[in-house]
């Protein structure tokens, strides 16, 4: 127990090497304890909890094969639903880490690995449009996370002040065998390194948000990102980069310490509705359209135009936080959905994603 706690403290202190070594020592002891527990129903929940704990320690000591063995043991017993969910998540993380290791990718603290899977992905190749849009979205999420962690109010438009851009994003060459790139948050030499947020904390925050989006825990995402603009931005950008289920089946994120996969499709990612007083609700009806985004204005709030293939023009109001994803689609064919306000004669945008032309 003592070693596991020391490993937790070392990880917090950023002493990764010591954290791994302590976790390894803790695992060795945990394994001995696990072996004392007989594999029978009467041993539950001790049996599955101890194998789950051994799996976590093996994972933190980077002994992934051993971790997966303990996960299999725990799942073969009668783990609680909560523990089963945690173990399956850990198992997916390990699968991804093993695939990185097999591809020879070693991540550093300031690196985020972004990769995609699906029929649009070949051996070391990917359809340009499928990858670039997601890479731009990941970049947006990193920039917005930096601003949020630095306590900057959400800024809808205009150039972001230099002090809120302490990092330069650098890409490493794609890895052969799977399609992924490493996004490195580097501090340019001419800039003063900042104490908070550290690159690893920003990456950790992005991955945690993606985990919550993929788990359908929009409530928990709201707790992680209480500021409305940043919450809406994170969710709408995640929806924009979510896989379509065919050409792209998964978008994976990994850092040195955690990993997450986005496998939900855009239609499954729904923002948490806000409570609105009923009497103040104007007459609105759901509306979905396809067309080209053809103008944008920051006057009268944020308003964009959309022209359908039949030439019909619609005005669309963009709420705070959806600016990033709208900007990314300007001039392109898109699907939009929201509520049409008959008094204002415009649509309140709730969803937008690109259509492959």
């Amino acid at each position: 127990m003592q070693l596991a706690q020391s490993a937790m403290v070392a990880r917090h202190d950023g002493d990764t090497e010591r954290a791994v070594e302590l976790a390894r020592q803790a695992y060795d002891l945990e394994r001995q304890a696990v072996n004392l527990v007989p594999e029978r129903k009467g041993s539950e929940p001790t049996f599955s909890i101890m194998h789950g704990s051994a799996a976590s320690l093996a994972y933190h000591s980077e002994q992934y094969d051993l971790a997966q063995r303990h996960i299999a043991q725990a799942l073969s017993g009668y783990p609680s639903t909560e523990l089963r969910r945690e173990l399956k998540k850990l198992d997916r993380d390990i699968d991804f880490r093993l695939s990185l290791r097999d591809a020879g990718v070693v991540l550093k603290e300031d690196e985020l690995q972004l990769s995609v899977e699906g029929t649009a992905v070949g051996v070391g190749t990917v359809l340009y449009s499928e990858f670039i849009a997601r890479l731009e979205n990941a970049h947006t999420q990193i920039e917005r996370t930096v601003q949020r962690l630095m306590k900057k109010d959400y800024q809808r438009s205009g150039r972001i002040a230099e002090r809120y851009r302490p990092f330069t994003v650098v890409l490493s060459a794609p890895t052969a065998g799977s399609f992924g790139v490493s996004i490195k948050l580097a501090t340019p030499e001419e800039k003063e390194p900042i104490l908070f947020p550290q690159a690893s904390e920003i990456i950790d925050e992005v991955i945690k948000g993606i985990e919550l989006v993929n788990a359908g825990q929009e409530d928990a995402l709201r707790a992680l990102i209480p500021e409305k603009g940043y919450y809406t931005s994170f969710l709408s950008v995640a929806r924009d980069m979510a896989p379509d289920g065919e050409r792209i089946t998964a978008v994976r994120f990994a850092s040195k310490s955690r990993a997450a996969s986005l496998t939900r499709q855009p239609s499954e990612i729904v923002p948490m509705p806000e409570a609105r007083p009923e009497e103040a609700e104007p007459k609105r009806e759901p509306l979905a359209l396809e067309g080209t985004l053809d103008y944008a204005s920051s006057r009268r709030g944020q308003v964009i135009g959309l022209t359908t293939e039949e030439g019909r023009r619609y005005t669309i109001a963009v709420e705070e936080g959806m600016d990033d994803v709208v900007r990314a689609h300007y001039g392109r064919l898109v699907f939009v959905a929201g509520l049409y306000d008959f008094e204002e004669e415009h649509m309140l945008l709730e969803q937008i994603h690109g259509i492959n032309e």
């Binding site: 127990m1 202190d13 803790a26």
Partner: protein, 184 residues
């Protein structure tokens, strides 16, 4: 519960069997950072709401928050979660017949398991309630103690395993403790 209960952060290592000195210091510092960030100092009163009756407990600690500590614990979100865990461990010891005697690493966090006394057989987690904690630096909008408790109960209702939930808020310091046990 003793006649004059306090939550003494310096007692974490002494009186909670599962907490070792290095982790005790870590947890204590996270608590100090959260209270200090919200303008509180040692002796601040924590309002505790629970089924058995509400109470107020002073939170005590020795030492002061300095610049070095603020830098080391700059991520307030993580600090809040660790601090809530420490306060939860102390609340359980002060207000229930339980104390944390075992831990399990699950994912990236440490789960603590409670017992009336230190178990002496190998089935150490059987019948031991788990301590489920969550922290809020300052309640705001929908991010409230009541809502967190509801979310935890919702998540736990699929499991029959017993748990004690403790959600802690550091702005206007308060905590809500709820027992969950659906075993038939």
């Amino acid at each position: 519960m003793t006649a004059a209960s306090v939550l003494d952060l310096d007692s974490l290592a002494r009186e909670i069997p599962v907490i070792f000195p290095e982790a005790a210091g870590f947890y204590k510092h996270n608590c100090m950072i959260c209270f200090d960030n919200q303008g509180h100092s040692s002796g601040v009163s924590l309002a505790v709401e629970r089924e058995e009756g509400n109470t107020h407990l002073p939170v005590l600690w020795a030492g002061a928050v300095d610049t070095h500590m603020k830098k080391a614990y700059a991520d307030l979100r993580k600090a809040t979660e660790y601090a809530a865990c420490a306060i939860g461990l102390l609340l359980v010891r002060e207000l229930t017949g339980f104390t944390a005697v075992e831990q399990a690493m699950i994912g990236t966090t440490v789960d603590y398991y409670l017992a009336q006394q230190v178990p002496d057989d190998t089935l150490i987690f059987n019948d031991a309630p788990r301590l489920e904690t969550s922290g809020i630096l300052q309640e705001e909008g929908t991010n409230t103690v009541d809502r967190r408790v509801r979310e935890k109960l919702e998540r736990l209702k699929v499991d029959a395993l017993p748990a004690i939930i403790a959600v802690v808020e550091f702005g206007c310091p308060k905590s809500k403790m709820v027992h969950h046990d659906d075993r038939s």
